[in-house]
Subunit: 294 residues, 2 copies
């Protein structure tokens, strides 16, 4: 049972965390902290949070908190960490919900100093197209993965506190090192976003873009869906995970060069072998995902 | 009204064409021709075709046909054209349903000689994951585009015959030159397939592929859905549209090189501008498509 949880950013991610813990009846009081007072008021009206704190009342808001969740846009993470550091009590655990981990950990080490022991990084793998307090759902994390990337300095108890909180949200807890995490998500999430943005930007910049878009159909629709995502958020993720994303991008560009050679040589068996390997893997993955989601 | 239509390949594409024209009551007799006698028998049982012809009875089957549709796998197109050429009567119009046009036209010129006037190339933009006669639907083409790419040798009447047939299927008729067609579909369909296959093949070949696939989520699912398509079919399309596809692949690789520079330089405003341009174009396209489909 958590007596008090403080949440920075009460939109989709932070709001859903609060609603889930309230539904599980494992938290007595949730205080919301953020830059937009209208969002905070709306979150309070919706029963997501019980009280509101502003940047001037952070010290009071967090001093008796068991857990602090950083769920504001990642660009604010360093500032929030700097603001809470002087007031952080030894019994309070801090966690986050960012899509990248190495950059958040570096910022946390800088801001928290010796209190880094209290920071347990995490990444819930869930989302929806909408955002803001109205988009928050008590079951957003139900059956979804949350990846925790513990630090060597974390105590087993602090890791358990964060695992338990996400477990109460219905999430399946995974552990990776921060490096593993950032490499994995560079490959299966960040690179596909970059590739989809690249294709749509390129087509949109062609002189006959209107003709091209006119004949784009369902394959194009699915392939480019993620190019409709927030440019600011994906700029931040791209820069935050720059090193791992460059590794994946270079590997993909080398792969395209290989494929180009097969195509230019008219190598039918070579193209078919590559396509068939991909088809098999994609279908096996699809079946595995469906089995889990059933 | 068509007295007789001959269809090579009575699967999803050819079968749906037959069902649509029967539903519109504009055809008296449909003869099915193909290599699989079980498919032909099934198509007859399902009421898709009225009679069956084999390779030895082609001359009889097509001699009184008003229209011949080539809907077998594109790899068979040259052989089918060669088989029908000697028996093709002057009043019979031939059309096809291939995803690429320049290669089919080259094969048709070779096989048909002076009878090329009777060949009006077309490409219905419709499909579904299933195939075979059971997958055929009378409304598969309803509200979908069919692109006709007439030849300079085609008479206005022969173009009108093919347009009318697809129009009776409920399709919206577009006209492009064969070169325009192949360029457009290289950009908005063939390249995305190649890119999706490339990504899944690359991930599947990594030593930690199982870990990567474990964390792939909905963005990856949509981006790679087309990598589940038939490797044989996409090998054929890639080779058939080799020239246009190489142009698009080279443009995309140059675009990735630009994006890589932005990322390596940590150029936040540059990344955001590219992502934002893509997002705007993708959202505008999405709204336009939804408006048409409503």
């Amino acid at each position: 049972m958590f007596k008090k949880i403080a949440i920075f950013g009460v939109g989709l991610i932070g709001g859903s965390f609060a609603l889930a813990l309230k539904k599980a009846q494992v938290v007595q009081h949730v205080v919301g902290i953020g830059r937009s007072s209208s969002s905070l008021l709306r979150a309070q009206q919706l029963g997501i949070i019980d009280s509101i704190a502003t940047s001037t009342s952070i010290s009071v808001a967090i001093q008796d908190a068991d857990l602090i969740l950083l769920a504001a846009p990642v660009a604010q993470t360093a500032n929030i960490l700097a603001a809470i550091a002087p007031h952080l009590q030894p019994h309070t655990i801090v966690t986050d919900a960012g899509s990248t981990k190495n950059d958040v950990i570096a910022a946390a080490r800088l801001a928290l100093g010796e209190k880094i022991t209290q920071f347990v990084p995490a990444h819930p793998i869930a989302g929806r197209e909408m955002h803001g307090p109205e988009a928050a759902l008590a079951d957003l994390y139900q059956g979804k993965k949350t990846v925790i990337t513990p630090l060597p300095e974390n105590s087993p108890q602090s890791i358990e506190t964060v695992s338990a909180a996400w477990g109460h949200c219905g999430a399946i807890i995974h552990q990776l090192t921060p490096e593993q995490h950032d490499g994995v998500f560079a490959a299966v999430s960040h690179l596909p976003h970059l590739l989809a943005y690249a294709l749509v930007d390129e087509i949109a910049n062609k002189p006959h873009a209107d003709v091209l878009f006119q004949y784009a159909a369902s394959g194009f629709r699915d392939f480019t869906r993620i190019a409709g995502s927030s440019p600011e958020m994906w700029r931040d993720i791209s820069l935050a995970n720059q090193a791992a994303l460059l590794v994946e991008l270079d590997a993909y560009m080398a792969q395209l060069a290989t494929l180009r050679t097969l195509l230019a040589n008219g190598d039918g068996p070579g193209l078919q072998a590559l396509y068939a390997n991909a088809q098999q893997a994609r279908q096996a993955w699809g079946r595995a995902i469906e089995a889990v989601e059933k």
